[in-house]
């Protein structure tokens, strides 16, 4: 009785897991937004390592650009402070501009690379910037239905 319950749990778990793979954040460089470039073994059969690597590296470079602290961010910060941040009601911040670029990049990647391989890449902002998640679009065959 106990072992069958355990098997049912396992099946339920694996059934819900088979649809999603997550790439976690890489905190080795501090609190900057950066995702791990480690290749998840679950995707080994679905996509080439180089393509996934390229996608994650490009995403990381976009986030670096968004969070860069330099002349432009100082100017934006000081100007906004001088107007008591009211200017943000009319102006888009640099971070928001880069986020738009990221979402169009992800859309393009999905259309060109991931959808033909039966995967869907989710924008990290929809998951609280914690993970890049891949969803299997084509259902993998399950031996027993849960």
């Amino acid at each position: 009785m106990r072992t069958t319950f355990h098997n049912l749990q396992e099946l339920r778990r694996s059934a819900s897991l088979v649809t999603k793979v997550f790439i976690q954040r890489d905190y080795s460089e501090g609190t900057v937004c950066r995702f791990q470039t480690k290749f998840p073994p679950e995707l080994d059969s679905r996509i080439e390592r180089a393509l996934l690597d390229q996608t994650v590296k490009t995403l990381n470079s976009y986030y670096v650009e968004a969070e860069k602290i330099g002349g432009q961010s100082y100017l934006e910060g000081c100007l906004a402070c001088a107007t008591a941040y009211i200017i943000f009601l009319c102006m888009e911040t640099r971070y928001e501009k880069v986020l738009r670029k990221i979402s169009s990049y992800i859309q393009e990647q999905n259309e060109k690379i991931y959808a033909p391989r039966g995967l869907l890449l989710t924008d990290p902002i929809e998951r609280g910037m914690r993970v890049v998640s891949f969803t299997h679009l084509l259902p993998l065959s399950l031996s027993v239905q849960g």
Partner: protein, 387 residues
């Protein structure tokens, strides 16, 4: 007995867990207890109103008209910063969706290996090396995530907040990554405003007393006494707070880290986030990028409601009644099949390539948790200490 499934569109903020209150259809986000925030508003607006009513007419004529103008600008800046701090998302981390939570649990189980029966599993901690310093990432049982570095769970708002500083009842909100600079500018500008009003109150009383005498002056402008009292007590606290936060910013530390003594220097631990340069630290905190909110408060989602047509329906579970329902499910907006008992619908059944704003709520899979907080050695020891 029949039941009808009704689908309606709701904004995501209505379904957000946590103890926040939302106003203006999700545009404003605050903590639940707002009493002290109203007191702050009352004190600032009240004192400034008295200043403009009693002191400004005299000072504008006898000294300079720029005095009330500058006071008005300062007052507006203080209010803008206060409202921005109170109404914005401090950097709340959304809770993990069921798949992500399960994925993390699987990873933890794999890392722990086989725990012998009867023994507690090890505490859920991940070690990360940042700048040659080992930082421990703790697992949050409420949000089901490993907290990013510098994030902490606010028990008052019941949310994990990124770069959590503290929960401030005076502004009625948490202070975190997204609103820390507004909070700092609020305390700084409030200090300046308090000093400004205090100084010109004294100047006004002195100038008037020269002509009319001290007691007559106080009779003519009774507001001055109140203002001086409020400013005197506010000065000590707000100026002290501004000084404290200036110190924290120069070291790139949060109040939370300071209180816990995370980087106090014992065991040779140092702050891995500090640039070791005061100017650089200040620039990063005050002039860094403005982070967007990752809580999509105003996005739309579908909510399925099961409405029982008969008023004397037996107290059975709502999902079981739908299986025997003869009413067809309305096809206009719903895209999944009717719920059968204890079956979870495939979530995101129809993903589209184009990013769509609609999101369906998958019912939580009925998997019992692998470990509860009570089995965690660390939290149970902490609880023992609390008693």
């Amino acid at each position: 007995m029949s039941a009808v499934m009704i689908t309606r569109k709701v904004r995501k903020w209505e379904k957000l867990p946590g103890k926040n209150t939302f106003c203006c259809d999700g545009r404003v986000m605050m903590a639940r207890q707002k009493g002290v925030f109203y007191l702050t508003l009352f004190l600032i607006i009240g004192t400034c109103a008295l200043f403009f009513a009693f002191e400004c007419p005299y000072l504008a004529v006898h000294l300079s008209p720029t005095i009330p103008v500058f006071a008005a600008l300062l007052f507006l800046f203080v209010m803008a910063m206060l409202l921005r701090t109170s109404f914005s998302d401090p950097g709340v981390l959304p809770r993990a969706l069921p798949e992500e939570a399960t994925f993390i649990e699987m990873e933890i189980e794999a890392a722990n290996g086989n725990v012998p029966a009867g023994q507690r599993p090890p505490p859920r901690i991940r070690n990360v090396q940042i700048n040659n310093q080992i930082v421990k990432l703790k697992y949050c049982y409420t949000c089901k995530i490993f907290r990013p570095p510098r994030a902490s769970h606010c028990s008052i708002c019941d949310n994990c907040v990124d770069r959590f500083d503290h929960h401030c009842p005076w502004v009625g909100n948490c202070v975190g990554k997204r609103n820390y600079r507004y909070f700092y500018l609020f305390t700084l500008s409030l200090s300046l405003l308090t000093i400004y009003i205090f100084t010109f109150d004294i100047v006004h009383v002195v100038m008037r007393s020269v002509n009319n005498g001290f007691l007559n002056t106080l009779k003519e402008t009774p507001g001055t006494v109140l203002e001086v009292l409020v400013c005197f007590f506010t000065l000590w606290s707000v100026v002290g707070l501004t000084g404290f936060h200036t110190y924290l910013i120069s070291l790139n530390q949060t109040t939370n880290e300071d209180i816990k003594g995370s980087w106090s220097g014992k065991n040779r631990v140092q702050n891995p986030y500090s640039h070791k340069n005061i100017i650089k630290n200040c620039c990063e905190v005050l002039c860094g990028p403005t982070y967007p909110s990752v809580l999509d408060r105003r996005g739309l989602m579908q909510e399925d409601l099961l409405v029982s047509a008969a008023s004397t329906a037996p107290a059975s579970s709502p999902s079981s009644s739908s299986s025997s329902s003869t009413n067809p499910v309305p096809q206009t907006t719903k895209t999944t099949a009717p719920l059968l008992p204890n079956e979870h619908t495939p979530d995101e059944a129809k993903p589209s390539i184009a990013v769509s704003p609609k999101e369906e709520l998958p019912p939580a899979p009925k998997v019992p948790p692998l470990a509860s907080p009570e089995t965690d050695v660390e939290t149970s020891i902490a609880k023992d200490k609390a008693h």
